[in-house]
């Protein structure tokens, strides 16, 4: 049995089960509490087991690709349900699962209104994300890409905070609009391929070898780039992000920041760099410029925010600027830096959103001017917050710095002045992170929330696991770097019509 | 001859104008008779003696008598005359008169703009008329008989209704 399709579909099925269970449960006379939550937890555990199997399965494939699965889906159009996994996918899949657990354990249990639907949507989004990391059929990729959006849209607009509708609609418009551009690019690529070879296929590996004129390849690449840039997000099209992150419920914020942004980076590596290498090289200066703009702009605005979640959201923009910069430096170092940065950012920002969400649950405000001095009453939460804030300011020895350092190193090879300019982003990072720390955690206690409950030991264990992972990423990133390098295209795993490969 | 034609035409027109301007119905009828007689002269001058005869006999004779009878039955008096006078203010007749004059001018203009045609004018005797009347136009004669019958029945019906209404 190949576990890849199960990996993709399991959350969706599990989500449906959770939903139905919740509905039948509420109809019951004596409802079991949190039944959908339990099912979700079970699904995630099962998924982890599957991923473990996938990771340690004996790989028989030649070449660097770890796993492959393909069955025809719409054969007339050359569309297949095709999944492939390489180290990059695998590491991002692990990130997805690792982040989902804290989400479910720390953030979704509080959902009381229509919990079944919430968990269903949560798992559906997760399906989209996991599928996006695995799909190598462009149509399937697009399908899953869109699948990610709709549940997230509903999550934000139904369970979000005060200004949720606007935020949700903005999120949806931006991502959906850019997704359409990507669809155009996919179709353009497929049609070009069809004209050249007479073979109608959406297969990633087949399409990778399509001969393209420079202009056309630039055009198609831009289509992909814009879609991924909106997701990443890159500066001029980032405006959906602060609102969406701020207004989303905690679990959705974590999904958004921790995972969904990574699909943008993943897409850039997998599709922009690999499908259109020449165009990407020609486009690199612009992309790098955008990356630097993102780093500085995000950090700068982050310095001025008073809303905790907004501050974290802008810091995300800054961090993802490093990812963009790293991807387009055109060197392996930069690429590895970008990947490490994605993983580390997922962990640190995800955790920060969990903490911000917990603060909001306890104090019912996100305004830093009103929170103030939590250390005395919530020492565990505060120390966790301090740790992740320090991680996000780029502390050497933690994952974020590794990523940033590698990206800066690669950038320095390209242009030292640009890299030096980028490094000033680190100063700004220190300013906004410590500003947050000194407003929330280490500050005169303002409203003494004596009734607020601190994190329990179990919850701290989960956050502790994230901390350990960050430290590992920071001081011993080599195995992960080796693992997570995207496989080159030169060795596609199998020719067409492979079916299940065992 | 020309003089006679002009004179008869003038009498006709003058009579017609008098008809429409009279205040007393009997006067108008009398002027109408004059008009018809003038017209009969014109017919005769146009070489249609049969038509002229019929004009005098039937129109000026029979139909006008009908009018006179009716006027007598209406029993009109001074009040009617006053009312007619009331109704013949210039404010009332000026508009229709102007309209008519305009129409007249247009008609005259269009008629006179057509070229003068002097065809051979030979009189058409009653025999010619009778021949064509019972030759090609026989169907029309039947139609006219129907028309007269219809008129007869209508008049009778209206008159009878009145008597019954009483």
């Amino acid at each position: 049995m190949n576990p890849l399709p199960a990996l993709v579909l399991l959350p969706l099925l599990g989500g449906t089960v959770a939903w139905l269970a919740d509905r039948s449960n509420t109809a019951n006379q004596q409802p079991t509490r949190n039944i959908s939550w339990r099912i979700t937890l079970m699904v995630l555990t099962l998924e982890t087991v599957l991923l473990l199997i996938t990771t340690f399965r004996h790989h028989t494939l030649p070449g660097p690709w770890l796993d492959h699965f393909s069955i025809p889906w719409i054969p007339v159009m050359g569309i297949a349900f095709q999944l492939d996994m390489d180290g990059l996918s695998l590491s991002l899949l692990w990130l997805s699962l690792i982040l989902s657990f804290p989400c479910v354990l720390l953030a979704t249990r509080q959902i009381t209104t229509d919990a079944g639907a919430f968990h269903f949507l949560f798992l559906a989004t997760l399906t989209g994300i996991i599928g996006t990391f695995l799909a190598t059929d462009l149509f399937l990729f697009f399908f899953l890409w869109e699948l990610m959006l709709v549940p997230m849209f509903v999550l934000i607009s139904a369970w979000g905070h005060e200004d949720r509708h606007r935020a949700a609609i903005r999120f949806f418009l931006f991502t959906q609009g850019s997704g359409l551009l990507m669809l155009l690019s996919i179709l353009g690529l497929v049609i070009t391929h069809y004209r050249e070879t007479g073979l109608l296929t959406f297969n990633y590996f087949a399409l990778a070898n399509t001969p393209l004129s420079p202009f056309l390849s630039m055009l198609l690449m831009l289509g992909f780039f814009i879609a991924f840039a909106v997701k990443l997000p890159v500066v001029p099209v980032h405006v959906w992000l602060p609102a969406a992150h701020t207004q989303a419920p905690t679990a959705a914020s974590v999904l958004l920041a921790g995972l969904m942004l990574k699909t943008g980076g993943y897409g850039m590596i997998r599709f922009n760099l690999m499908l259109f290498p020449e165009a990407a090289i020609r486009f690199a200066p612009v992309a790098m410029g955008l990356g630097i703009a993102g780093i500085l702009y995000g950090a700068w605005l982050s310095c001025a925010q008073n809303d905790v979640k907004r501050l974290i959201a802008y810091s995300s923009i800054s961090h993802m600027g490093f990812v963009l910069l790293g991807i387009f430096t055109g060197s392996n170092t930069g690429l590895q830096g970008a990947i490490i940065q994605m993983l580390a950012h997922g962990l640190s920002t995800g955790a920060l959103f969990i903490i911000a969400g917990s603060i909001q649950d306890r104090l019912h405000t996100r305004d830093m001017a009103q929170i103030g001095g939590l250390w005395a009453s919530l020492p565990r939460l505060s120390s966790a917050g301090l740790f992740f804030a320090v991680a996000s300011l780029g502390m050497p020895g933690l994952g974020n710095f590794t990523g940033e350092f590698l990206v800066l190193l690669a950038t320095w090879h390209v242009n030292s002045i640009v890299a030096a300019l980028t490094a000033t982003g680190l100063v700004l990072a220190a300013i906004y992170s410590l500003r947050m720390v000194n407003r929330i955690f280490m500050a005169p206690s303002r409203t003494s929330p004596s009734h607020a409950k601190d994190f329990s030991a179990g919850q701290m264990t989960i956050l502790g696991a994230l901390m350990i992972l960050l430290v590992v990423l920071g001081v011993h990133p080599q195995p992960i770097m080796t693992l997570s390098m995207p496989s080159p295209l030169s060795a596609p795993p199998l020719s067409d019509g492979g079916g299940d490969t065992q | 001859m020309n003089t006679l034609a002009l004179f008869s035409g003038a009498v006709t027109l003058l009579g017609a104008i008098m008809v429409i301007t009279r205040q007393v119905a009997v006067h108008a009828v009398l002027y109408l008779v004059v008009t018809l007689l003038g017209l009969a002269t014109v017919f005769a001058l146009l070489g249609a003696p049969f038509a002229a005869a019929l004009e005098v006999i039937i129109y000026a004779g029979a139909i006008m008598v009908l009018f006179v009878f009716v006027i007598m039955m209406l029993n009109l008096g001074q009040s009617d005359r006053e009312r007619e006078k009331e109704w013949l203010r210039p404010r009332i007749w000026l508009g229709p008169a102007l309209l008519s004059i305009l129409l007249c001018a247009e008609l005259i203009y269009s008629v006179s703009s057509s070229p003068q045609q002097e065809g051979p004018l030979a009189p058409l005797s009653a025999r010619d008329v009778g021949l064509s009347l019972f030759g090609p136009y026989v169907l029309m004669v039947e139609l006219v008989s129907f028309l007269l019958l219809a008129g007869l029945i209508t008049a009778f019906h209206i008159g009878r209704h009145r008597t019954e209404g009483r």
């Binding site: 500066v235 980032h238 405006v239 602060p242 609102a243 702009y297 700068w300 605005l301 310095c303 001025a304 802008y314 060197s331 392996n332 170092t333 590895q336 001095g373 250390w375 020492p379 120390s383 320090v390 502390m395 050497p396 020895g397 710095f401 590794t402 350092f405 800066l408 190193l409 320095w412 090879h413 030292s416 890299a419 490094a423 000033t424 680190l426 100063v427 220190a430 300013i431 410590l434 500003r435 000194n438 280490m442 500050a443 005169p444 206690s445 001081v475 011993h476 990133p477 080599q478 770097m481 | 508009g95 229709p96 309209l99 008519s100 305009l102 129409l103 247009e106 008609l107 269009s110 703009s113």
Partner: protein
């Protein structure tokens, strides 16, 4: 033996993690002892290593690679430790002084509610500092470098209830972070040039001549900026006095003995690199000289006891930079060591004193304390004499004398031989020594020997007294391992560090000058403040220059005016996302336009329909009037139509 190196770091690190995890569950005394025990174990390790080093036949540096941090095509770095004499000196200082300060802090911090946080941060700091010191790879060093920064931040802002403290903490972190960023740039430059940040590889590349002079100058300049920021030299000096907001043990350990000397250590470690960049060397020495002078002058007018010590630290660090700039890094390290002893002593004594005076820090409100606390007086006197460098009996004398004598004979290759920069610098340093002695004895005379002013309570606990005693001993006699040739040819320290220096023949008057300056300072201080009726009770605060000097020469205000306020203002100005507004604005505009269009259309339609209705109505009435059932009117209409038809037929 190599496994002791990771163990050295492990003890404090483990204790830090343990303390953070069990925060709030252990008693204060337990917390203190756990931390002190861990540092003690580290100190034992370092002493063992030192013994091993001293008594081994061929003392070779110990290398240990723990694991590879990363290896890519263009760059590789390892998490690796090296123990050579330079780092051995440092680990001895860090662990022993650290141990003593921890011991002291057990009692000092006993009452604090956040004691676990305090000791956690302190031990974490020691761990980071050890990583910094032991790292054989500049990248690894940078981990420790930033680590000590964040610990310093946490400890300065320990009493976070007061916003002034957290502001000071952030100020310290930001300023050092600016330097760190510059240092990171230097590291990146070196990394791209050599492909590795391993110090030995770096030096090998340097000796192979593969680093161009421009790159070298730029890289060392960047590193220098980092070191200056860390060591609070001009232009970064402003954070250190504010950093005194932290608990006194923190000030002693981090902001006097160890962390602030990281910059000196970095340059000493990379002295070969710096020697190859004469411009940067000269810059280093000039900045050092300026800083020492400026800081000494500032210290002279301070009234806050801890601030006097802080400015004095900056001044002493200036000495070290001066020494580094003139190439005698051994002297810098020697002074670093002795300074760690006596400055820690001074801080701890001051802390004990302040604790007993109900947190009174103004020296002019103290006085005559030698009667009530003779022990502290002796300790403070020991520290002060070492700081002033009273000849022969204090360690400070030997280290300062070493610096002074080496400056005199320093050589700056970039300058023409006739320009006596070395002599000018020597003059500044000598004046500095005089001022040092002046300000610290001013402090002593005012605090200990004047009329009694404040009530003091309790007595110094034994647990606090023991470290003071140890440090007093070290301050007084720690310097005898290295002496000027004129006195005795003892050069244990320099021999230990490197090949023996070629000792130029020093004139005796040089030594005499160096020895007499502190004595002169003491005498003048006694004249001014020490006698029963002092010449000057208080330095007049009215004079503008004094006020300015008291505020650190207005640099703070200048920075606030130049950087902080504009930054705050700009951030405030741009607190809203312009692009967000732009796009939202476009959206709004589109909506406004469309609604305007809609409105206009509606209005137009309403209007036109109204008009049409009106028109139709009027037409309707007209038609209705036409349709009046009056035969004559119908006829008239027929006629009119006929007229029109005819006219249209006739007229054209």
């Amino acid at each position: 033996m190599p496994y002791l190196l990771p163990l050295l770091v492990f003890f404090p690190l483990a204790s830090a993690i343990f303390l953070f995890v069990t925060a709030g569950r252990l008693s204060a005394r337990t917390v203190g002892w756990v931390a002190t025990g861990a540092i003690g174990l580290s100190a034992l390790c370092s002493i063992t290593l030192a013994c091993f080093f001293l008594f081994s036949a061929v003392p070779a540096p110990i290398h240990i690679i723990l694991w590879e941090w990363m290896h890519t095509q263009a760059f590789s770095a390892d998490i690796a430790f090296t123990l050579d004499p330079v780092s051995l000196v440092m680990i001895l200082v860090v662990t022993i002084v650290g141990f003593l300060i921890h011991l002291y802090a057990i009692r000092y911090m006993e009452e604090e509610p956040g004691i676990a946080r305090f000791f956690g941060s302190m031990t974490l700091f020691v761990a980071s500092m050890l990583v910094l010191v032991l790292a054989s790879d500049l990248f690894c060093l940078f981990i420790g470098w930033e680590g000590v920064g964040i610990c310093s931040y946490l400890l300065i802002g320990f009493w976070y209830e007061n916003p002034v403290n957290t502001a000071a903490a952030r100020k310290a972190f930001y300023m050092t972070r600016i330097g760190d960023t510059a240092m990171l740039c230097g590291l990146l430059l070196l990394a791209t040039t050599t492909g590795s940040l391993h110090i030995e590889t770096l030096l090998a590349t340097l000796h192979a001549g593969q680093i161009g002079p421009d790159v070298l100058t730029a890289a060392t300049l960047f590193l220098l900026i980092g070191a200056l920021a860390k060591s609070a030299q001009i232009p970064f000096q402003t954070w250190l006095p504010d950093a005194m907001a932290g608990p006194t043990p923190t000030s002693a350990l981090i902001h006097a003995a160890t962390m602030v000397t990281a910059g000196i250590y970095l340059i000493a470690r990379l002295h070969e690199l710096f020697t190859a960049a004469p411009l940067v060397m000269m810059l280093t020495s000039i900045i050092g000289a300026l800083t020492l002078m400026m800081a000494a002058c500032t210290a002279l007018v301070q009234t806050d006891l801890k601030r006097i010590l802080a400015w004095s630290t900056i001044s002493q660090l200036g000495y070290m930079f001066l020494a580094l700039g003139t190439g005698v890094w051994q002297a810098a390290l020697f002074h670093l060591m002795t300074h760690a002893f006596f400055k820690a002593l001074l801080f701890l004594t001051a802390g004990a004193l302040i604790a007993r005076l109900h947190h009174e820090q103004d020296i002019f409100r103290m006085g005559g304390l030698y009667r009530t606390m003779p022990g502290l007086t002796v300790a403070f006197l020991a520290g002060a004499s070492a700081l002033a460098g009273l000849p022969l009996v204090t360690s400070g004398f030997y280290s300062k004398e070493m610096i002074l004598s080496s400056i005199w004979s320093a050589h700056f290759p970039l300058l023409p031989g006739s320009f006596p920069l070395a002599h000018i610098l020597w003059g500044i340093a000598l004046t500095g020594a005089f001022l040092t002695s002046l300000y610290i004895f001013r402090c002593i005379f005012i605090v200990f020997f004047n009329t009694h002013k404040t009530e003091s309570t309790g007595s110094t606990p034994r647990l606090m007294a023991i470290p003071l005693a140890c440090l007093s001993f070290l301050s007084l006699f720690g310097g005898v391992i290295e002496m000027p040739d004129t006195l005795a040819p003892i050069h244990l320290f320099t021999h230990f560090l490197s090949a023996p220096l070629p000792h130029a023949e020093e004139p005796v008057w040089l030594l005499l000058a160096g020895a007499s300056a502190p004595i002169a300072g003491v005498v003048i201080a006694w004249v001014l403040w020490g006698r029963a009726t002092p010449v000057m009770q208080e330095i007049p605060g009215q004079a503008t220059i004094i006020r300015v000097a008291k505020e650190g020469w207005g640099v703070d205000a200048l920075y606030a005016f130049l950087f902080v306020q504009p930054f705050r203002f700009l951030v405030w100005l741009t607190r809203h996302d312009v692009l967000d507004y732009l796009i939202t604005g476009i959206g709004r505009m589109v909506r406004a336009i469309s609604s305007f269009l809609e409105h206009t259309r509606t209005r137009f339609l309403t209007l036109s329909s109204g008009r049409t209705t009106l028109l139709l109505q009027s037409g309707d009435t007209l038609l209705a009037r036409v349709q009046n059932g009056r035969v004559r009117w119908y006829a008239a209409w027929i006629v009119a139509g006929l007229c029109a038809a005819l006219a249209s037929g006739v007229v054209p």
